[in-house]
Homo-oligomer: 193 residues x 2
DNA sequence: GCCTAACCGGACCTGCGGGTCCGCTTACTG
DNA sequence: CAGTAAGCGGACCCGCAGGTCCGGTTAGGC
Protein backbone atom coordinates (compact mmCIF):
# COMPACT_ATOMS: atom_id res chain seq x y z
CA UNK A 1 0.00 0.00 0.00
CA UNK A 2 2.97 2.29 -0.13
CA UNK A 3 6.54 2.83 -1.16
CA UNK A 4 8.57 1.29 -3.89
CA UNK A 5 10.69 -0.63 -1.50
CA UNK A 6 14.28 -0.36 -2.71
CA UNK A 7 15.17 2.74 -4.72
CA UNK A 8 15.42 1.45 -8.26
CA UNK A 9 18.73 2.87 -9.30
CA UNK A 10 21.58 2.72 -6.83
CA UNK A 11 23.37 5.91 -7.75
CA UNK A 12 27.10 5.87 -7.27
CA UNK A 13 27.16 9.60 -6.74
CA UNK A 14 30.26 9.60 -8.90
CA UNK A 15 31.59 13.11 -9.25
CA UNK A 16 31.23 14.13 -12.91
CA UNK A 17 34.66 15.75 -13.10
CA UNK A 18 36.34 12.42 -13.58
CA UNK A 19 37.12 10.27 -16.56
CA UNK A 20 34.29 8.15 -17.87
CA UNK A 21 35.92 4.82 -17.01
CA UNK A 22 36.62 6.04 -13.49
CA UNK A 23 33.00 6.98 -12.98
CA UNK A 24 31.88 3.65 -14.37
CA UNK A 25 34.18 1.85 -11.98
CA UNK A 26 32.99 3.87 -9.02
CA UNK A 27 29.47 2.89 -9.87
CA UNK A 28 30.42 -0.78 -10.06
CA UNK A 29 32.20 -0.55 -6.75
CA UNK A 30 29.25 1.14 -5.12
CA UNK A 31 26.79 -1.42 -6.43
CA UNK A 32 29.00 -4.28 -5.32
CA UNK A 33 29.42 -2.65 -1.94
CA UNK A 34 25.66 -2.37 -1.49
CA UNK A 35 25.35 -6.09 -2.09
CA UNK A 36 28.28 -7.23 0.00
CA UNK A 37 27.48 -4.97 2.94
CA UNK A 38 23.89 -6.19 2.81
CA UNK A 39 25.06 -9.79 3.03
CA UNK A 40 27.82 -9.46 5.58
CA UNK A 41 27.35 -6.16 7.36
CA UNK A 42 30.42 -4.31 8.50
CA UNK A 43 32.34 -7.58 8.39
CA UNK A 44 32.42 -7.12 4.64
CA UNK A 45 35.91 -6.80 3.34
CA UNK A 46 37.38 -4.40 0.82
CA UNK A 47 39.05 -7.17 -1.21
CA UNK A 48 35.68 -8.93 -1.33
CA UNK A 49 33.90 -5.85 -2.61
CA UNK A 50 36.63 -5.19 -5.16
CA UNK A 51 36.39 -8.77 -6.41
CA UNK A 52 32.61 -8.56 -6.70
CA UNK A 53 32.98 -5.32 -8.65
CA UNK A 54 35.60 -6.88 -10.89
CA UNK A 55 38.27 -4.30 -10.08
CA UNK A 56 41.47 -4.19 -8.03
CA UNK A 57 41.14 -2.96 -4.52
CA UNK A 58 43.26 0.08 -5.23
CA UNK A 59 40.38 1.23 -7.42
CA UNK A 60 38.07 1.04 -4.45
CA UNK A 61 40.38 3.22 -2.42
CA UNK A 62 40.60 5.74 -5.24
CA UNK A 63 36.91 6.58 -4.91
CA UNK A 64 36.65 6.05 -1.17
CA UNK A 65 39.73 6.89 0.91
CA UNK A 66 38.90 4.35 3.58
CA UNK A 67 36.56 1.43 4.06
CA UNK A 68 34.56 3.52 6.51
CA UNK A 69 33.83 6.10 3.82
CA UNK A 70 32.46 3.46 1.53
CA UNK A 71 30.37 1.98 4.31
CA UNK A 72 29.02 5.39 5.14
CA UNK A 73 28.09 6.09 1.54
CA UNK A 74 26.23 2.81 1.29
CA UNK A 75 24.57 3.31 4.66
CA UNK A 76 23.38 6.78 3.69
CA UNK A 77 21.90 5.36 0.53
CA UNK A 78 19.89 2.81 2.46
CA UNK A 79 18.95 5.23 5.20
CA UNK A 80 17.60 7.60 2.60
CA UNK A 81 15.06 4.98 1.69
CA UNK A 82 14.13 4.61 5.34
CA UNK A 83 13.67 8.32 5.87
CA UNK A 84 11.33 8.47 2.90
CA UNK A 85 9.34 5.49 4.10
CA UNK A 86 8.95 7.04 7.54
CA UNK A 87 7.81 10.30 6.09
CA UNK A 88 5.16 8.38 4.15
CA UNK A 89 4.02 6.71 7.36
CA UNK A 90 3.69 10.05 9.10
CA UNK A 91 1.28 11.22 6.41
CA UNK A 92 -1.16 8.36 6.95
CA UNK A 93 -4.31 9.09 8.94
CA UNK A 94 -4.42 6.17 11.35
CA UNK A 95 -1.29 6.22 13.49
CA UNK A 96 -1.40 2.65 14.70
CA UNK A 97 -1.91 1.17 11.25
CA UNK A 98 0.77 3.43 9.89
CA UNK A 99 3.15 2.21 12.57
CA UNK A 100 2.29 -1.42 11.95
CA UNK A 101 2.74 -1.17 8.19
CA UNK A 102 5.91 0.80 8.67
CA UNK A 103 7.43 -1.80 10.94
CA UNK A 104 6.51 -4.59 8.55
CA UNK A 105 8.07 -2.84 5.57
CA UNK A 106 11.15 -1.90 7.52
CA UNK A 107 11.50 -5.44 8.79
CA UNK A 108 11.36 -6.78 5.28
CA UNK A 109 14.19 -4.49 4.28
CA UNK A 110 16.17 -5.30 7.39
CA UNK A 111 15.81 -8.99 6.65
CA UNK A 112 17.75 -8.39 3.46
CA UNK A 113 20.31 -5.89 4.66
CA UNK A 114 22.61 -6.66 7.47
CA UNK A 115 24.37 -3.33 7.20
CA UNK A 116 21.14 -1.50 7.84
CA UNK A 117 20.56 -3.61 10.93
CA UNK A 118 23.99 -2.91 12.31
CA UNK A 119 23.98 0.75 11.50
CA UNK A 120 20.46 1.76 12.47
CA UNK A 121 20.81 2.12 16.23
CA UNK A 122 24.00 4.16 15.82
CA UNK A 123 22.84 6.53 13.11
CA UNK A 124 22.55 9.53 15.42
CA UNK A 125 23.77 12.06 12.91
CA UNK A 126 21.41 10.82 10.23
CA UNK A 127 18.54 10.99 12.68
CA UNK A 128 19.29 14.59 13.46
CA UNK A 129 19.77 15.57 9.85
CA UNK A 130 16.43 14.05 8.85
CA UNK A 131 14.53 14.84 12.01
CA UNK A 132 13.78 11.18 12.52
CA UNK A 133 13.09 11.60 16.21
CA UNK A 134 10.53 14.25 15.38
CA UNK A 135 8.77 11.98 12.91
CA UNK A 136 8.81 8.99 15.22
CA UNK A 137 7.61 10.94 18.19
CA UNK A 138 4.81 12.40 16.15
CA UNK A 139 3.67 8.91 15.18
CA UNK A 140 3.99 7.65 18.73
CA UNK A 141 2.16 10.61 20.21
CA UNK A 142 -0.69 10.14 17.75
CA UNK A 143 -0.97 6.45 18.61
CA UNK A 144 -0.88 7.25 22.29
CA UNK A 145 -3.66 9.80 21.86
CA UNK A 146 -5.85 7.14 20.29
CA UNK A 147 -4.95 4.77 23.12
CA UNK A 148 -3.23 2.08 21.07
CA UNK A 149 0.23 2.66 22.57
CA UNK A 150 1.26 2.73 26.22
CA UNK A 151 1.95 6.23 27.48
CA UNK A 152 5.59 5.59 28.34
CA UNK A 153 6.51 4.20 24.92
CA UNK A 154 9.43 5.99 23.29
CA UNK A 155 11.18 6.10 19.94
CA UNK A 156 14.10 4.42 21.65
CA UNK A 157 11.84 1.49 22.53
CA UNK A 158 11.06 0.88 18.89
CA UNK A 159 14.70 1.17 17.93
CA UNK A 160 15.71 -1.32 20.58
CA UNK A 161 12.97 -3.86 19.96
CA UNK A 162 13.16 -3.80 16.17
CA UNK A 163 16.93 -3.60 16.07
CA UNK A 164 16.93 -6.42 18.56
CA UNK A 165 14.95 -9.12 16.84
CA UNK A 166 16.60 -8.15 13.58
CA UNK A 167 20.03 -8.90 14.93
CA UNK A 168 18.98 -12.26 16.29
CA UNK A 169 17.10 -13.29 13.17
CA UNK A 170 20.15 -12.43 11.14
CA UNK A 171 22.44 -14.28 13.51
CA UNK A 172 20.17 -17.30 13.16
CA UNK A 173 20.05 -16.82 9.40
CA UNK A 174 16.27 -16.64 9.34
CA UNK A 175 15.23 -15.38 5.92
CA UNK A 176 11.49 -16.01 5.88
CA UNK A 177 9.85 -12.56 5.65
CA UNK A 178 6.78 -13.86 7.46
CA UNK A 179 8.88 -14.46 10.55
CA UNK A 180 10.26 -10.96 10.35
CA UNK A 181 6.77 -9.50 10.05
CA UNK A 182 5.65 -11.61 12.98
CA UNK A 183 8.28 -10.12 15.26
CA UNK A 184 7.44 -6.67 13.97
CA UNK A 185 3.86 -7.05 15.18
CA UNK A 186 4.97 -8.71 18.40
CA UNK A 187 7.24 -5.75 19.10
CA UNK A 188 4.42 -3.36 18.50
CA UNK A 189 2.30 -5.51 20.75
CA UNK A 190 4.93 -5.04 23.44
CA UNK A 191 4.17 -1.34 23.45
CA UNK A 192 0.40 -1.71 23.90
CA UNK A 193 -1.09 -0.41 27.14
CA UNK B 1 13.58 -14.07 46.16
CA UNK B 2 15.73 -16.66 44.45
CA UNK B 3 19.12 -17.68 43.24
CA UNK B 4 22.52 -16.49 44.24
CA UNK B 5 23.10 -14.81 40.93
CA UNK B 6 26.62 -15.62 39.89
CA UNK B 7 28.06 -18.87 41.19
CA UNK B 8 30.44 -17.74 43.92
CA UNK B 9 33.55 -19.62 42.92
CA UNK B 10 34.47 -19.73 39.24
CA UNK B 11 36.04 -23.17 39.12
CA UNK B 12 38.78 -23.57 36.60
CA UNK B 13 38.06 -27.26 36.26
CA UNK B 14 41.82 -27.72 36.30
CA UNK B 15 42.68 -31.38 35.99
CA UNK B 16 44.34 -32.48 39.24
CA UNK B 17 47.05 -34.52 37.53
CA UNK B 18 49.10 -31.42 36.83
CA UNK B 19 51.68 -29.49 38.73
CA UNK B 20 50.37 -27.06 41.33
CA UNK B 21 51.60 -23.94 39.55
CA UNK B 22 50.04 -25.13 36.32
CA UNK B 23 46.67 -25.57 37.97
CA UNK B 24 46.95 -22.17 39.60
CA UNK B 25 47.70 -20.60 36.27
CA UNK B 26 44.81 -22.37 34.58
CA UNK B 27 42.53 -20.96 37.23
CA UNK B 28 43.89 -17.47 36.69
CA UNK B 29 43.44 -17.82 32.96
CA UNK B 30 39.90 -19.05 33.36
CA UNK B 31 38.96 -16.24 35.74
CA UNK B 32 40.50 -13.65 33.45
CA UNK B 33 38.71 -15.21 30.49
CA UNK B 34 35.37 -14.97 32.27
CA UNK B 35 35.94 -11.27 32.78
CA UNK B 36 37.26 -10.44 29.35
CA UNK B 37 34.67 -12.48 27.49
CA UNK B 38 31.98 -10.81 29.59
CA UNK B 39 33.26 -7.40 28.56
CA UNK B 40 34.01 -7.99 24.93
CA UNK B 41 32.19 -11.12 23.87
CA UNK B 42 33.81 -13.31 21.28
CA UNK B 43 35.85 -10.33 20.14
CA UNK B 44 37.99 -10.94 23.20
CA UNK B 45 41.53 -11.73 22.31
CA UNK B 46 43.86 -14.39 23.66
CA UNK B 47 46.71 -11.93 24.25
CA UNK B 48 44.27 -9.77 26.18
CA UNK B 49 43.15 -12.63 28.37
CA UNK B 50 46.73 -13.72 28.96
CA UNK B 51 47.71 -10.20 29.96
CA UNK B 52 44.77 -9.94 32.34
CA UNK B 53 45.77 -13.25 33.88
CA UNK B 54 49.35 -12.13 34.15
CA UNK B 55 50.75 -15.01 32.08
CA UNK B 56 52.17 -15.44 28.62
CA UNK B 57 49.74 -16.48 25.93
CA UNK B 58 51.50 -19.81 25.48
CA UNK B 59 50.25 -20.65 28.95
CA UNK B 60 46.71 -20.05 27.82
CA UNK B 61 47.15 -22.44 24.92
CA UNK B 62 48.63 -25.06 27.24
CA UNK B 63 45.32 -25.42 29.10
CA UNK B 64 43.05 -24.73 26.14
CA UNK B 65 44.27 -25.91 22.72
CA UNK B 66 42.39 -23.16 20.89
CA UNK B 67 40.59 -19.95 21.70
CA UNK B 68 37.30 -21.67 20.92
CA UNK B 69 37.91 -24.24 23.65
CA UNK B 70 38.43 -21.52 26.21
CA UNK B 71 35.35 -19.69 25.05
CA UNK B 72 33.32 -22.86 25.28
CA UNK B 73 34.54 -23.58 28.80
CA UNK B 74 33.58 -20.08 29.90
CA UNK B 75 30.25 -20.24 28.11
CA UNK B 76 29.39 -23.56 29.75
CA UNK B 77 30.17 -22.07 33.10
CA UNK B 78 27.77 -19.19 32.55
CA UNK B 79 25.13 -21.37 30.95
CA UNK B 80 25.22 -23.63 33.96
CA UNK B 81 24.01 -20.74 36.05
CA UNK B 82 21.23 -20.09 33.55
CA UNK B 83 20.08 -23.69 33.55
CA UNK B 84 19.84 -23.64 37.33
CA UNK B 85 17.94 -20.38 37.35
CA UNK B 86 15.46 -21.73 34.83
CA UNK B 87 14.93 -24.88 36.81
CA UNK B 88 14.14 -22.70 39.82
CA UNK B 89 11.61 -20.77 37.76
CA UNK B 90 9.91 -23.96 36.68
CA UNK B 91 9.34 -24.92 40.31
CA UNK B 92 7.43 -21.74 41.13
CA UNK B 93 3.63 -21.96 41.35
CA UNK B 94 2.56 -18.94 39.28
CA UNK B 95 3.85 -19.32 35.74
CA UNK B 96 3.57 -15.72 34.66
CA UNK B 97 5.30 -14.35 37.71
CA UNK B 98 7.96 -17.00 37.39
CA UNK B 99 8.52 -15.99 33.80
CA UNK B 100 8.66 -12.32 34.63
CA UNK B 101 11.14 -12.77 37.47
CA UNK B 102 13.17 -15.12 35.34
CA UNK B 103 13.45 -12.66 32.49
CA UNK B 104 14.44 -9.87 34.86
CA UNK B 105 17.17 -11.92 36.49
CA UNK B 106 18.42 -13.18 33.18
CA UNK B 107 18.45 -9.67 31.77
CA UNK B 108 20.50 -8.47 34.67
CA UNK B 109 23.07 -11.15 33.99
CA UNK B 110 23.01 -10.49 30.27
CA UNK B 111 23.63 -6.81 30.91
CA UNK B 112 26.94 -7.78 32.46
CA UNK B 113 27.98 -10.57 30.13
CA UNK B 114 28.35 -10.00 26.46
CA UNK B 115 29.52 -13.54 25.83
CA UNK B 116 26.29 -14.90 27.24
CA UNK B 117 24.32 -12.61 24.94
CA UNK B 118 26.23 -13.73 21.88
CA UNK B 119 26.20 -17.38 22.73
CA UNK B 120 22.66 -17.85 23.97
CA UNK B 121 20.78 -18.11 20.69
CA UNK B 122 23.30 -20.59 19.33
CA UNK B 123 23.60 -22.88 22.32
CA UNK B 124 21.64 -25.72 20.73
CA UNK B 125 23.74 -28.48 22.19
CA UNK B 126 23.51 -27.04 25.68
CA UNK B 127 19.75 -26.73 25.31
CA UNK B 128 19.45 -30.37 24.40
CA UNK B 129 21.77 -31.54 27.15
CA UNK B 130 19.84 -29.63 29.79
CA UNK B 131 16.38 -30.03 28.32
CA UNK B 132 15.97 -26.27 28.16
CA UNK B 133 13.25 -26.47 25.55
CA UNK B 134 11.31 -28.78 27.81
CA UNK B 135 11.58 -26.39 30.73
CA UNK B 136 10.68 -23.34 28.68
CA UNK B 137 7.76 -24.99 27.02
CA UNK B 138 6.45 -26.14 30.37
CA UNK B 139 6.57 -22.57 31.64
CA UNK B 140 4.96 -21.24 28.50
CA UNK B 141 2.22 -23.85 28.46
CA UNK B 142 1.38 -23.10 32.09
CA UNK B 143 1.17 -19.38 31.40
CA UNK B 144 -0.98 -20.04 28.35
CA UNK B 145 -3.33 -22.20 30.42
CA UNK B 146 -3.83 -19.33 32.82
CA UNK B 147 -4.40 -17.00 29.89
CA UNK B 148 -1.49 -14.67 30.46
CA UNK B 149 0.38 -15.62 27.29
CA UNK B 150 -0.87 -15.66 23.72
CA UNK B 151 -1.50 -19.19 22.43
CA UNK B 152 1.03 -18.99 19.61
CA UNK B 153 3.90 -17.89 21.83
CA UNK B 154 6.95 -20.14 21.58
CA UNK B 155 10.27 -20.61 23.31
CA UNK B 156 11.87 -19.26 20.17
CA UNK B 157 9.95 -16.00 20.62
CA UNK B 158 11.47 -15.46 24.02
CA UNK B 159 14.92 -16.29 22.74
CA UNK B 160 14.57 -13.83 19.89
CA UNK B 161 13.05 -10.97 21.85
CA UNK B 162 15.35 -11.23 24.85
CA UNK B 163 18.44 -11.93 22.80
CA UNK B 164 17.39 -9.02 20.64
CA UNK B 165 17.13 -6.15 23.05
CA UNK B 166 20.20 -7.48 24.82
CA UNK B 167 22.30 -7.12 21.73
CA UNK B 168 21.13 -3.61 21.07
CA UNK B 169 21.53 -2.46 24.65
CA UNK B 170 25.05 -3.82 24.62
CA UNK B 171 25.80 -2.18 21.29
CA UNK B 172 24.56 1.09 22.75
CA UNK B 173 26.55 0.46 25.90
CA UNK B 174 23.49 0.79 28.13
CA UNK B 175 24.45 -0.46 31.57
CA UNK B 176 21.54 0.67 33.73
CA UNK B 177 19.87 -2.54 34.99
CA UNK B 178 16.53 -0.76 35.22
CA UNK B 179 16.54 -0.33 31.44
CA UNK B 180 17.29 -3.99 30.98
CA UNK B 181 14.45 -4.97 33.27
CA UNK B 182 12.15 -2.62 31.43
CA UNK B 183 12.77 -4.35 28.12
CA UNK B 184 12.37 -7.70 29.81
CA UNK B 185 8.85 -6.79 30.84
CA UNK B 186 8.12 -5.17 27.50
CA UNK B 187 9.15 -8.37 25.76
CA UNK B 188 6.89 -10.40 27.96
CA UNK B 189 4.17 -7.88 27.23
CA UNK B 190 4.70 -8.59 23.55
CA UNK B 191 3.58 -12.15 24.13
CA UNK B 192 0.32 -11.26 25.89
CA UNK B 193 -2.90 -12.20 24.15
C1' DG C 1 46.57 9.64 -34.85
C1' DC C 2 49.30 11.50 -30.99
C1' DC C 3 50.25 13.02 -26.48
C1' DT C 4 49.51 13.48 -21.85
C1' DA C 5 47.30 13.24 -17.68
C1' DA C 6 44.17 10.33 -15.44
C1' DC C 7 43.53 5.81 -14.30
C1' DC C 8 44.34 0.93 -13.40
C1' DG C 9 45.71 -3.12 -10.67
C1' DG C 10 49.35 -6.25 -9.01
C1' DA C 11 52.88 -6.05 -5.65
C1' DC C 12 54.04 -4.43 -1.46
C1' DC C 13 53.89 -2.60 3.51
C1' DT C 14 52.04 -2.69 8.23
C1' DG C 15 49.62 -4.29 12.22
C1' DC C 16 47.31 -7.78 14.53
C1' DG C 17 45.49 -12.08 16.18
C1' DG C 18 45.70 -17.23 16.30
C1' DG C 19 48.88 -20.67 17.20
C1' DT C 20 53.80 -22.97 17.87
C1' DC C 21 58.76 -23.55 19.52
C1' DC C 22 62.58 -23.73 22.43
C1' DG C 23 65.85 -22.54 25.98
C1' DC C 24 65.41 -21.28 30.78
C1' DT C 25 63.05 -22.03 35.35
C1' DT C 26 60.85 -24.46 38.98
C1' DA C 27 57.86 -27.79 41.43
C1' DC C 28 57.96 -32.23 43.02
C1' DT C 29 60.35 -37.04 43.99
C1' DG C 30 63.61 -39.92 46.01
C1' DC D 1 69.43 -31.58 48.38
C1' DA D 2 70.01 -33.13 43.78
C1' DG D 3 67.88 -34.65 39.41
C1' DT D 4 64.37 -34.29 36.15
C1' DA D 5 60.28 -33.65 33.80
C1' DA D 6 56.64 -30.38 33.73
C1' DG D 7 55.88 -25.79 33.04
C1' DC D 8 56.89 -21.11 31.53
C1' DG D 9 56.95 -17.07 28.37
C1' DG D 10 59.35 -14.38 24.82
C1' DA D 11 60.28 -14.92 20.07
C1' DC D 12 58.63 -16.53 16.12
C1' DC D 13 55.50 -18.11 12.05
C1' DC D 14 51.36 -17.61 9.25
C1' DG D 15 47.31 -15.61 7.19
C1' DC D 16 44.54 -11.77 6.49
C1' DA D 17 42.69 -7.18 6.01
C1' DG D 18 43.46 -2.13 5.62
C1' DG D 19 45.95 0.85 2.95
C1' DT D 20 49.88 2.64 -0.45
C1' DC D 21 52.97 2.71 -4.68
C1' DC D 22 54.47 2.56 -9.19
C1' DG D 23 55.06 0.97 -13.91
C1' DG D 24 52.05 0.01 -17.56
C1' DT D 25 47.51 1.33 -19.97
C1' DT D 26 43.88 4.16 -21.87
C1' DA D 27 40.50 8.03 -22.36
C1' DG D 28 39.84 11.97 -24.68
C1' DG D 29 41.45 16.75 -26.15
C1' DC D 30 43.94 18.58 -30.00
Amino acid sequence: MSSELPPEEPPAAGRPDRRADARRNQERVFTAAVEVFAERGLEATVPEIAARAGVGKATVYRSYPAKADLAEAVARHRLAWLAERMAAAARQPDAFTALRDLLCDVSEQLSKDRLLVEVLPRARRWEEENDISGLTEKLIAAAQRQGTLRPDATAQDIRVLVGGYSRVLIALDVRDPAQWRRYATLSLNALRP
